[in-house]
């Protein structure tokens, strides 16, 4: 008989999630990832002023709020036929880049490392329930030191964001046309100097720390693989003069990389708590999560730092729990370089704002790769207010439920087949799930959309 294991809460993620797994002979034979928070943003947005979508959707998520601001702005620009200037795009992408850095530093140190290193237990916050800590004492001590040091750096990443964005989380800077304010030279210099210290920290500490963990947890290069299908909507790409600084919209499957087509996206709700007319419906048989199942031509795909690093050719060591973590810290470094290039190309004091007016009726989509992966916002405007809003988040891909054809979600698939050392203390589950950087705050789908 299979043994059933339930872990809830999965701490050190944003939002609330449960894993349910079945273990036979120490191997996970089945798993479900369950998102346990529902707020219904897409319903809330209906009837509001389209301009308000930017600041409103940021409130979906506290750790990646800028991502939603960017996607929402892009959807609005598409609907209003506003083409942002290159300067506007640079400035907006700098803000977005700062959010990447804040996110990746916090995810690596505050969310991931406590799985692998022993933090001082005289803090009640760091008391743990298992003993699978493998780093030798002095290396462990070094990483603990960096855990606390990293707090300064992630705070500074948000400080850098606020220099252009007003405040963080939930910035005011990202808006139609680029950003609201101008980059004066004092701001540019301030960002440069913070960027410099973050870059040093990532290079000298964060990347070596990730490899140190990898060295002592070699087995994690061999679990958590999943389907191995990778996808990105692209980010820091397609600039008129600078070309692509990071990654274009691409998809990887069966060993080959192809361009990504937005028309292949669909979302299914067979196993999610929604009725056929997409109202919340918790009594639905078989359903087990608020998360829906995002699919690309009907197939689950993984998105996020590893997908981007792979698709852009920066890192192709493998697809596993540890590779995901390594890819995240390497990406952090890449982002500091991208921000550096963008900063070099900023013309100081350029204002990119205009007086905008809302069209009577319009629709638009904003697809962008952000910290955790592919994020899409779709907006429809009627009678000058929002008449429809749809959001598919990265966790809608990575933490998706099964779909109608019974294909499991990417993270579910990644769990299955894993060997559990001690089924009374199945540390493997949380470690694998966290490598995806789940964000259940973001999971709040409402309206079904197939083949947008």
């Amino acid at each position: 008989m299979a043994k059933r294991i339930v872990i809830n809460p999965i701490t050190r993620i944003s939002g609330f999630m449960e894993i349910e797994a079945f273990i036979e002979n120490n191997i996970i034979v089945d798993a479900k990832t369950e998102g346990l928070l529902f707020r219904g943003f897409e319903k809330m947005l209906v009837g509001r002023s389209p301009f308000d979508a930017v600041y409103f959707t940021e409130r979906i998520c506290g750790i990646c709020s800028t991502a939603h601001g960017v996607a929402s702005t892009m959807a609005l620009e598409a609907a209003m036929k506003v083409i942002p200037t290159e300067q506007g795009r640079y400035l907006r992408d700098i803000i977005h880049g700062c959010e990447f850095l804040q996110n990746h530093i916090r995810h690596f140190y505050q969310y991931t490392t406590p799985d692998f290193i022993k933090l001082p237990e005289n803090y009640p916050l760091y008391v743990t329930d298992h003993n699978d800590f493998r780093l030798p004492e002095e290396k462990n001590a070094l990483l603990v030191k960096h855990y606390f040091e990293s707090l300064d750096l992630s705070r500074q990443a948000h400080e850098m964001l606020a220099v252009l964005g007003g405040k963080a989380p939930h910035n005011h800077g990202v808006f139609i046309g680029g950003i609201t304010t101008q980059a004066s030279t004092d701001k540019i210099i301030k960002i440069k100097s913070i960027l410099n210290s973050i870059n040093q920290f990532i290079r000298d500490k964060m990347i070596p720390d990730a490899y140190t963990i990898g060295e002592y947890y070699q087995d994690y290069y061999h679990n958590g693989g999943g389907y191995g299908n990778l996808l990105s909507y692209g980010c820091f790409n397609n600039y008129a003069e600078l070309g692509t600084l990071y990654v274009d919209p691409l998809a990887y499957k069966d060993g080959s990389i192809r361009p990504f087509y937005p028309s292949g996206i669909s979302e299914e709700i067979d196993y999610s708590w929604y009725s056929d007319d997409t109202e919340p419906y918790m009594d639905k048989p078989k359903a087990y999560s608020w998360v829906k199942a995002a699919r690309y031509y009907g197939i689950p795909f993984e998105t996020g730092p590893l997908a981007r690093q792979w698709l852009s050719g920066e890192y192709r060591h493998g697809i596993s729990t540890m590779d995901r973590t390594i890819a995240r810290v390497l990406e952090a470094k890449k982002i500091t370089e991208v921000i550096g290039v963008l900063l070099e190309n900023i013309t100081p004091d350029v204002s990119v704002q205009k007086e905008y007016s809302i069209p009577e009726a319009a629709e638009g989509e904003g697809l962008i790769d952000t910290t955790r992966g592919a994020l899409g916002h779709w907006i429809e405007i009627d009678d000058r207010v929002i008449s429809f809003y749809q959001i598919i988040t990265p966790s809608g891909w990575n933490l998706s439920t099964r779909s109608g054809n019974n294909l499991k979600g990417t993270a579910e698939k990644a769990l299955i087949g894993t060997t559990i050392q001690n089924s009374d203390n199945p540390v493997e589950l949380g470690r694998i799930i966290r490598s995806f950087d789940p964000c259940v705050s973001c999971q709040l789908m409402y309206i079904q959309m197939v083949g947008i």
């Binding site: 944003s14 319903k43 809330m44 009640p124 329930d129 300064d152 963080a168 705050s441």
Partner: protein, 299 residues
């Protein structure tokens, strides 16, 4: 006319330094070993978990100082090392002893709270609703952190699909309210410091900490002279008064203009955008539209 303004009154100035002063005081109490660390539980409920991120952005003091010198942080979903039932142990075992409870996020009441489950205890789902009921009454102080916890905020925005309510609507006791989306780290840390040193701080008639929530943004806004002279911005990015674009500074009581955000580098109006009233009760529904371009501009 007055030729030269000798500057701001030093008394006023002192009161805007507040959080920092309180922390200095805490530091000296610690040096004298007279401050006793208390237990703090930080619940993340129906919301975006952005207030804990904002707390990590605190620099005066920072997070490490908080958990090393001020409190024993017993529970926080985003940061604690334990997971699953072992994590909940800390919560459930806490109900007998002394602790301060901070709550971010609203409380979803739909379907008996099942729209937001924060853990599973002995096989049973622990809803946000149940957690607040369980821990709220016995805490020595309850602090509602951020818009959702203080009045429902964005989680309760029309049509409020998850039927979210504030912490106060669940608890019959006094709840200290720190509205803001998110809550500035100083507002929370200053309030906590006050509790540790002197007990409950002075609150206004809606239980906001007066130290931070007494003045209108409009009263201390650096763009006030533009307002008074009727010079209004027509688009974002301009340096004049944001009133005609929909600025909520005139109805929002909070100290953003003097405090500023993220190590005190900037704030929304300085970023050339209108205040959207995120620290005022009623946000977001009562503060919308956030941005309007078609407002009449006659004087």
């Amino acid at each position: 006319m007055i030729e030269k303004n000798p500057g701001i009154c030093p008394m006023l100035n002192a009161s805007s330094g507040t959080a920092k002063n309180l922390i200095e005081k805490i530091k000296s109490e610690i040096m004298r070993n007279s401050l006793v660390k208390r237990d703090l539980i930080w619940l993340e409920l129906t919301g975006c978990s952005g207030n804990i991120i904002s707390l990590l952005n605190g620099s005066n003091p920072d997070f490490k100082f908080l958990i090393t010198n001020m409190v024993n942080l017993i529970y926080n979903n985003s940061l604690m090392a334990a997971e699953g039932e072992a994590a909940l142990d800390a919560l459930v075992n806490k109900t007998g002893s002394d602790y301060i409870l901070a709550v971010e996020g609203a409380i979803s009441t739909k379907n008996n709270g099942l729209y937001n489950i924060i853990g599973r205890w002995k096989g049973e789902p622990l809803t946000a609703l149940k957690a607040v009921q369980l821990l709220g009454d016995r805490a020595s102080h309850v602090i509602a952190v951020g818009a959702c916890a203080t009045h429902g905020g964005v989680s309760a925005a029309r049509p409020n699909p998850a039927e979210c309510v504030s912490v106060q609507s669940i608890l019959k006791r006094k709840v200290i309210k720190l509205p803001g989306c998110p809550c500035h780290p100083d507002w929370f840390l200053g309030t906590l410091a006050h509790i540790l040193l002197y007990g409950e701080p002075e609150l206004d008639d809606r239980d906001r900490h007066l130290l931070f929530y007494s003045m209108l943004i409009h009263d201390r806004c650096p763009r006030r002279s533009y307002f008074d002279n009727g010079v209004f911005a027509t688009r974002l990015g301009e340096k004049t008064c944001m009133f005609k674009l929909g600025c909520r500074g005139p109805v929002t009581r909070i100290d953003c203009p003097v405090r500023q955000w993220n190590s005190y580098v900037n704030w929304p109006i300085r970023d050339d955008t209108p205040c959207i009233g995120c620290a005022m009760f009623g946000f977001p529904d009562s503060m919308e539209p956030f941005i309007s371009y078609d407002t009449t501009r006659k004087r």
